[in-house]
């Protein structure tokens, strides 16, 4: 258990130090969402209508940003070899790295969402629900992205391959995330069903992501 904690702590520390990627995602998210009202113009009704979709798309792209380097740095400096020779199953180790990534990339994004919601004319009482959907759905983005990150190290191709592999897999998360947020904001569909499916997607990827990523790393690094 302490080994797991040590790994999460190290990755969080690396992300917040110089050269780390923490807040990068949140900043990118901020810029994307701020640009939208300028592009669309001051149509408050339209902004409120597409607001949740914009926030979710921004979150999706922002969470991909630092994923690329998730295993690449450990691979390059030899840490990955040592992660594999510890007593800890590789599945757990990659899950720990994903948790650290979520804490440093997605959590700041969830926290700044209310601020951005204001710019998109989302009502204050709907903001809580929107934040809730992002908090419930972003773990799925991270853990699905984990598979892509492992594959891009294993196949020694970074960058674009990751986006091409990961983005199609995140479509269900996007659909149910936006559906849940819209249900709460514009109605009339109930909020419950899409939100529970969103939670289910997060939980399923929490289990499957690390297994698939560990398998990809084991095969790729031989």
């Amino acid at each position: 258990m302490s080994a797991l904690l040590a790994l999460i702590l190290r990755d969080v520390r690396l992300a917040v130090r110089v050269g780390g990627g923490a807040l990068m995602g949140a900043l990118f998210f901020l810029i994307v969402v701020v640009m939208v009202p300028f592009a669309i113009g001051p149509d408050l009704k339209l902004l409120a209508r597409i607001g949740p979709a914009i926030l979710w798309l921004g979150a999706l792209l922002a969470s991909l940003l630092a994923l690329d380097r998730l295993f690449a740095t450990d691979y390059e400096d030899g840490s990955l070899d040592l992660l594999m020779t510890s007593g800890m199953p590789l599945e757990l180790a990659v899950a720990a790295k994903a948790i650290a990534h979520w804490l440093t990339t997605c959590l700041p994004l969830v926290i700044v969402t209310p601020l951005l919601g204001l710019m998109l004319n989302i009502e204050l009482n709907a903001m809580g629900v929107l934040v809730l959907t992002l908090a419930a759905g972003t773990p799925a983005l991270t853990f699905i992205g984990l598979i892509g990150a492992a594959l891009s190290v294993a196949l020694r191709r970074g960058g674009l391959l990751l986006a091409v592999l990961v983005l199609p897999l995140t479509v269900p998360v996007l659909i149910f995330g936006v559906a849940a947020a819209n249900a709460a904001i514009v109605g009339p569909a109930p909020f419950g069903p899409p939100f529970t499916i969103l939670c289910a997607l997060s939980l399923a990827s929490l289990v499957l992501g690390p297994i698939a990523a560990a398998a990809a790393l084991r095969h790729g690094l031989e």
Binding site: A3, A6, R17, G78, D81, T85, E222
Partner: protein, 199 residues
């Protein structure tokens, strides 16, 4: 404790790196793996560490923990130092001590490799030799019976090499085993030698 390999083979990218390799290494002894470039020295170490699967043959560690893989009872010191430049010297070692072992105070291990003075310096500012010494400190901080050393003396100055030899002697004296890949002598007189590749 004894490490034995039986008819071990390793295939990388469709090419047999080595084949039919058998050796046994009892506790307290060192095995020096030599051979020309590309003979499979590093591959052999990675096979023993469990990072690469052998294409044939078997590896056993008698007298070790039957539940754990050989890699989990071994320290693998590869060409890379597995250090994070933005973490300090002490933080780097502390992390590996906690992750590979049970943590504890890393100060004595840093003393052993003469890096205690630089404990709070970010690893980015270390020289190649100091980085090497910091990764050697890992072997001291966490006790594991088998050391797999790939060119352990690279980048080390004479004084550090002498200290490494001392560390290896201590490890052997306490019943540990060392498998080292090297081009030259590493300072151990009684090491067995395993020559890889065509003579």
């Amino acid at each position: 404790m004894q490490l034995s390999a039986d008819n071990l083979a390793c295939n990388r990218g469709g090419r047999d790196v080595f084949r039919g390799l058998s050796f046994s290494l009892p506790g307290g002894e060192a095995l020096l793996v030599t051979g020309r470039n590309g003979a499979g020295k590093s591959s052999l170490l990675r096979v023993i560490a469990g990072l690469v699967r052998p294409s044939a043959g078997q590896l056993t560690l008698d007298g070790g923990d039957q539940e754990a893989a050989i890699g989990e009872q071994a320290h693998y010191l590869g060409h890379q130092d597995a250090l994070k430049p933005s973490l300090s010297v002490a933080e780097n070692l502390q992390f590996w001590a906690e992750f590979l072992g049970s943590g504890g105070d890393v100060e004595p291990a840093l003393e052993t490799v003469d890096l205690a003075r630089l404990a709070s310096l970010p690893a980015a500012y270390l020289s190649a030799g100091q980085r090497r010494r910091l990764s050697l400190a890992r072997l001291v901080a966490v006790k594991r019976p088998l050391w797999l050393l790939d060119e352990p003396t690279s980048a080390l100055d004479a004084a550090s090499q002498a200290r490494l030899t001392e560390l290896m002697r201590d490890h052997l004296a306490s019943g540990g085993m060392i498998v080292a890949a090297a081009h030259g002598a590493i300072g151990l007189e009684h090491a067995r030698e395993l020559k890889l590749g065509p003579a």
